[in-house]
């Protein structure tokens, strides 16, 4: 099982916001098993999908040189379940990015209806911090491969509207 909880990037403006879609399919084990008889995408995996979008946004800001992790979910409101056949449209806006972390505001819409609202914070695993293992979070090339599959490079632009580069350390 691969830990992809976004299907495709649809918009990415460096340092500003990122959008993506998530299709809910009955074939997904988590959807089928979470609430037997009522297939739905678990809300925690909606948070995970938003975190994947937001995490990429923050990592790109630092040229993918920092190890970005979800550190805190400040608030999460779910207005409707994400049922099979639904397509969720996520949008993540950057609130603040600093040298210690970042905060973002995320929303999910389904058929133009607000489905979820989440605020979260990212932190960085710094080299030499003995609480965490050192080394990259991804095998060489894996993150680039994932981003390509998700159409990241089709849509990602910098603040001037120019395509973002394929960073060397992806």
């Amino acid at each position: 099982m691969r830990w992809f909880w976004v299907d495709r990037f649809t918009e990415f403006v460096s340092g500003s916001h990122v959008c993506g879609i998530k299709n809910i399919a009955l074939a997904e084990e988590a959807v089928d098993k979470y609430c037997p008889g009522f297939p739905m995408l678990p809300p925690t995996l909606i948070i995970e999908g938003m975190a994947q979008l937001g995490g990429i946004m923050v990592a790109e800001h630092f040229g993918f040189e920092k190890r970005v992790v979800l550190a805190k979910v400040g608030s999460a409101k779910f207005h409707a379940p994400a049922r099979t056949g639904d397509q969720l449209h996520y949008r993540v806006d950057v609130d603040a990015i600093g040298d210690q972390g970042a905060t973002v505001t995320c929303v999910s819409h389904c058929d133009d209806q607000l489905q979820a609202e989440v605020q979260m914070m990212f932190a960085f695993l710094e080299p030499g911090d003995d609480r965490f293992t050192d080394g990259p979070l991804f095998e060489p090339g894996d993150l680039e491969s994932m981003l390509r599959m998700m159409n990241f490079f089709h849509v990602a632009v910098d603040a001037d509207g120019e395509p973002v580069p394929i960073y060397e350390n992806l």
């Binding site: 550190a71 400040g74 609130d95 603040a96 600093g98 040298d99 972390g101 932190a123």
Partner: protein, 128 residues
């Protein structure tokens, strides 16, 4: 127009309620961020971001968290801050009430020092 002390307190309360999930009446000026309000290390970053946005200020890491002093052998002996270290802390943090800490300045107790009132004073020093 400069914010009044009450306006700063109200905004700091709002930031702490939001960041720590505590009720308004818990966020008194005397409440300590760690001991009374349950702030963890990761929450401080969240609080800093919220205050920076609310007040349009920049909060350098070392101003709220003088770790460089507390880990400097010049200022710490046998787990306690020396007189020289206290002087440096007071110089760095004039907005904090260090009087209680000064009575028994063990480094391990520093983390539970800051109160909501201290945070208000700090913000006031930045926006004033």
């Amino acid at each position: 127009m400069a914010l009044s002390a009450d306006e700063i307190y109200a905004k700091v309360q709002e930031a702490l309620e939001d960041a720590l999930g505590v009720d308004n009446d818990e966020v008194t000026k005397e409440a300590t961020l760690v001991g009374d309000l349950g702030a963890e290390s990761i929450d401080f970053l969240d609080i800093v971001f919220k205050l920076e946005k609310m007040f349009d200020i920049t909060i350098p890491r070392e101003e709220l968290s003088p770790e460089d002093i507390l880990t400097n052998a010049q200022y710490v002996q046998d787990g306690s801050v020396t007189g020289e270290g206290m002087a440096e802390l007071k110089r760095r943090m004039p907005w904090a009430d260090l009087s209680e800490f000064e009575k028994s300045p063990r480094v391990q107790d520093f983390g539970n020092l800051l109160t909501v009132g201290d945070l208000c004073n700090y913000v006031e020093s930045k926006v004033g």
